[in-house]
Amino acid sequence: MDINLKRVGRALIVALEGELDLATAPRVKDTVDQVLARDAKLHHLVWDLAKVEFIDSSGLGMLLGRYNKISARAGSVVLMRPAVLVRRMLVMAGMGRIMQFVDSEEQALAKIGGDTDGQLH
């Protein structure tokens, strides 16, 4: 599982590549949690899922756990470009009721209310 992180203002964009299951979800969790713990100004999380080929309930549980952390900061979580199978799993798990689906980074940043401080990092 490849994990790429980018900060845009108060949003953390996490691009994942590979399969998200019990073997890989803990590393994603630890990586994202470390960044969130270091920077209390991060309020929003954008998951770029375009290159995630597989997800099961272990991956979904990890996403839900990070949603709970971001909610505690009164922020939003956005799901970007999931493939058909991954999107189906996210919808079945009810993620669509608490997170928004978008097709691009621009849409993602618009969904979180342009709350980016106008900075690109």
């Binding site: 299951d21 019990l22 073997a23 099961d56 309930s57 272990s58 979904l60 549980g61 756990g65 798990a93």
Partner: protein, 146 residues
């Protein structure tokens, strides 16, 4: 499966790293039937959930062996996943969405996904002696609408 025409048996330790191998191997074996790519993905999810359950709930972080027996015959796939872990105390409750005995960040949807994506699911579990999960699936074009 009594009249199977092909069979595969795998045995591996209950390490999370083996889950990806298990689901891929079962999907490759299943591909000898006329499953669509979507159906093969559904089989992968079901196997991933079942093996994850053995790792997380069956052995609870300790190491034991997981056995998978796959068979094809009469146009259907049958997959049995067995562990010798702690077993399931209340099978009915295990099927309830959001029910989990595992700590933190588990959604309790594993068996819900298995039921959703496979045609048939049979669970046999004895507390303290392990769990056997048998799931069956036929390619969609083999199914007859009644």
């Amino acid at each position: 499966m009594g009249s199977s025409i092909n069979q595969l048996t795998m045995e591996f330790p209950s390490k999370a790293v083996n889950i990806g191998f298990a689901r891929t191997a079962v999907a490759m074996f299943a591909a000898q039937l006329d499953f669509t790519l979507d159906e093969l993905d559904e089989i992968k999810i079901a196997v991933s959930e079942a093996v994850s359950n053995s790792v997380i709930h069956g052995y609870k972080g300790t190491e034991g062996m997981i056995t998978i027996i796959c068979a094809v015959g009469e146009g259907a796939l049958e997959v049995q996943i067995k562990d010798e872990g702690v077993g399931i105390d209340d099978i009915e409750k295990a099927f309830e969405p959001a029910f989990t005995t595992a700590p933190k960040e588990r959604m309790g949807l594993g068996l819900v996904f298995v039921k959703e994506y496979m045609d048939e699911l049979i669970i046999d579990s004895v507390s303290g002696r392990g769990t056997s999960l048998i799931m069956k699936k036929s390619p969609c074009h083999n199914k007859v609408e009644v």
